[in-house]
Symmetry: C2
Subunit: 555 residues, 2 copies
Amino acid sequence: MKVVIVGGVAGGASCAARLRRLDEKAQVLIVERGPYVSYANCGLPYHVSGVIAEESSLLVATEQTFRSVHAIDVRTGCEAIAIDRAQKTVDLLDVASGAVTKEAYDKLVLSPGAAPLRPPLPGIDLPGIFSVRTVPDARAIREWLGRSGEGAEASTAARRQRAVVVGGGFIGLEMAENFVHLGLEVTLVEKMDQVMPPLDAEMARLVERALSGRGVKLELGDGVAGFRQTADRSLEVLTESGKVHPADVVILAIGVRPETALAKAAGLELGRRGGIRVDEHMCTSDPDILAVGDAVEVKDFVTGQWTLIPLAGPANRQGRIAADVIAGRDARYRGSQGTSICQVFEAAIGQTGASEKLLRQLGDTDFEKIYLYPNSHAGYYPGAKMLTIKVLFRKSDGRLLGAQLFGEDGVTKRLDAFAMAIQMRATVHDLEQAELAYAPPFGSAKDPVNFAGMVAGNVLRGDTPLVHWDEARGFLLDVRNLPEVAVEAVPGALNIPLPQLRARLGELPRDREIHVICRSAVRAHSATRILLQNGFQARNVSGGMLARAHRIAPR
Amino acid sequence: MKVVIVGGVAGGASCAARLRRLDEKAQVLIVERGPYVSYANCGLPYHVSGVIAEESSLLVATEQTFRSVHAIDVRTGCEAIAIDRAQKTVDLLDVASGAVTKEAYDKLVLSPGAAPLRPPLPGIDLPGIFSVRTVPDARAIREWLGRSGEGAEASTAARRQRAVVVGGGFIGLEMAENFVHLGLEVTLVEKMDQVMPPLDAEMARLVERALSGRGVKLELGDGVAGFRQTADRSLEVLTESGKVHPADVVILAIGVRPETALAKAAGLELGRRGGIRVDEHMCTSDPDILAVGDAVEVKDFVTGQWTLIPLAGPANRQGRIAADVIAGRDARYRGSQGTSICQVFEAAIGQTGASEKLLRQLGDTDFEKIYLYPNSHAGYYPGAKMLTIKVLFRKSDGRLLGAQLFGEDGVTKRLDAFAMAIQMRATVHDLEQAELAYAPPFGSAKDPVNFAGMVAGNVLRGDTPLVHWDEARGFLLDVRNLPEVAVEAVPGALNIPLPQLRARLGELPRDREIHVICRSAVRAHSATRILLQNGFQARNVSGGMLARAHRIAPR
């Protein structure tokens, strides 16, 4: 059996190593267009700044490792340019020499990844404009900034102080942060009116504040129209709104598109999202050709929709499953749930499962959302930080649909608990009962994940009807204490501190729905319960003043 | 409806607050023997050292909060001394005045907690010997050590430099750590031959090293026989083996026993483990009396056995469920899985589900264990720390049974993922497919939880038979590189570095089982696969040299 693997990073590398362990006799060839296999492209932004000091650290496994440990043949600088499915051969171009050879396969695995989008904008090929996908990309940026190289050239480069990052996704945010670490002035230009497109906008708002707080200048809702070189050979980034952002270095990080040219030319089925279509065994429409990683469409685990999720974790697991399938096993990929996390200076933003915007796009109305603001660990132990958590769940059966989390501590602990819960099709009632790690330095007796389940459970059981800020047009009752109200009052709200509520029910209307406000919706929950049991119509304003502070005004 | 709650911490406080939210009209009385309700007893060790500076920080909710916010009556310094189940009354002793009153109830909730064990050893009542259960306990220790108080007395106290902690459970470890923070010389005496009794001994070994590394003197396998006062009014701790440990302060932390006197005198059913027996609704054998928290026996979620799990998380959730049940709802407690975590200086030790020793005690042989040593996050990103993970799973169906984790980073992330997986009855195959948070500062594309699932899956599918060190008596093959072997060789093992293995198969026996060794069992997995596919009998020595370094020698 001969297996040719096109693309030697993440999915391809993972597939090759697994295949060798399953089948000592298989002949395995990895072809990789670039100079390196199995490198850590997720680390590239951190290498640009020197947080990861050595380029060699990024090379997870070398050609030599594949050869000596796995008896796998590797050809770098080698591009697969055509597949003859009838003959079961693939044409390989040696990039350096231009020579083309034909390689037979029994099974072909496509792991070509996704390429950074480079729209044909004026000036896009000017020197100083970079993508961040490969080790040579990172090296080129470092050289341009004088972070490697020597003497006069480096000192010219070291005067390059103004960075414009185009695109506010993972790579854009990571590059912005690492440029700040280098002491550059950073402007982030993003066409959407939020960073981190998979997030809901009000959660992205928190990320935007963290970026602004560290001096990143945000230009949201403004696309890039082109680039030009100035007389002093620096750059200008021109936007659709007519702005001009001077730049000494520009990072293009506006997204990626699956590398499907080879698959398409071979007549393999593509999906509507533009990725290679595969079944749960990672097989393409040709059963002898499998595909994995950023180039394929996957089923969204929560919504069941086809989607593109270009992340390293799924790519690695898909590669492993492809190897199992080639080795004759009944391995199946269950779909992707989009679990992701991104460092934003001191904080982290994490997400798993469906977002509100995705559910709305699908026309789904059978969901509710909650916001909560618990401490990352027991408040009485030093160093606790406030977490912001948004949780989406199905109204009809309580199933957990998605979670988004932001904070300076304790994000990963909860994100992974939510991610595992979604994978296991947990309901919010399972979250109520979850038994998670607690000691004062690490959590709380009621962990934020429990707390999320309890809040959601209270909503589902009808104990505490919710209203969101953009619908809170009832009689506004603010149950915070006077000092809190003195700092920030809600226009039009009557203030009755919670401890006085039972004695002052006579001040409240019986003919209008009362929308109850406090700092984080905890006291308002108690107040709502008091009101409901006293015959009032009442709803808790979800997330309270803390949610108000990062909500997106309704359009 | 009148509800009397005996015990105002954790479970009792949680029950009271929830009950009020569900039933505005119920009459709720909390009686608490001590001076405070709803205090953070988990924080007490950290207050002794001043890590938590203010005693007031430990008071989560005061009597005043219960009265003003929840309209709940609280009597502190008030002990329930007898229950008349026929009349549905409880006798309450005012501790200060000695007056006894009778209080009627419709529902009674017992949340008396568990008391520190104080065996009748000679000298146990000498001054300077403390338990750590209540705020006054912590205050007394601080005063004894001169951490609060003034003048000459404080300066005498400040010369108290030698601490003996008796008992190596959570409280003992936390007290040892906090005494080290205070600059005391600390000796930890533990009757068992390991610290942290719920852990398997080889995992406890890691904790013991962390303690020793910070100067804690460990005296394991030696029980305390008594205490005596010396001429200079300091203490000596006498052990069963005849040792004498001088001490200026002694902490007794040898465990707790459920406070069942009241329940027992009332004729309520107790379990064989000595706790109050309750059903899944937290009802005792008297349907009008519920019980929650450290005083009750719970079903072990994994094994189904009755057990005692005195932890704050379960107590809080049980209190909430008791409130739901009193309010007429069908709430059920699912059992406890023993998820716990403890800080050990820079490191954390965590556990969830069943331990190997527990499974063996139950005579269960349908399980396998694995050890793994992954990085806490991508190795190429600075600050990655090695995690030690032990995972137990069912051989017959792959169900995850338990996990134990030790490390200086990333323990909570994985512990909560394992805990949620166990709760949802996940198999190791679910772990293989889990989609967890990854970015270089936080994880790896193959998260340690995935990795655990993959290793376990390889075992279950028969791809890599395991052998544990205490059974590794086959032909020993060490596939590490020469420099590694030079540092530490395995006596009797043949060294063939993995890259040379295929070329040197002729040096290996075909008539003996080959037990393959490397640093962490990753390369040995590849080697085992090579050998098996070449017709050898081979097993991977689980956990490799890293497991060898903390294994417990078989007895």
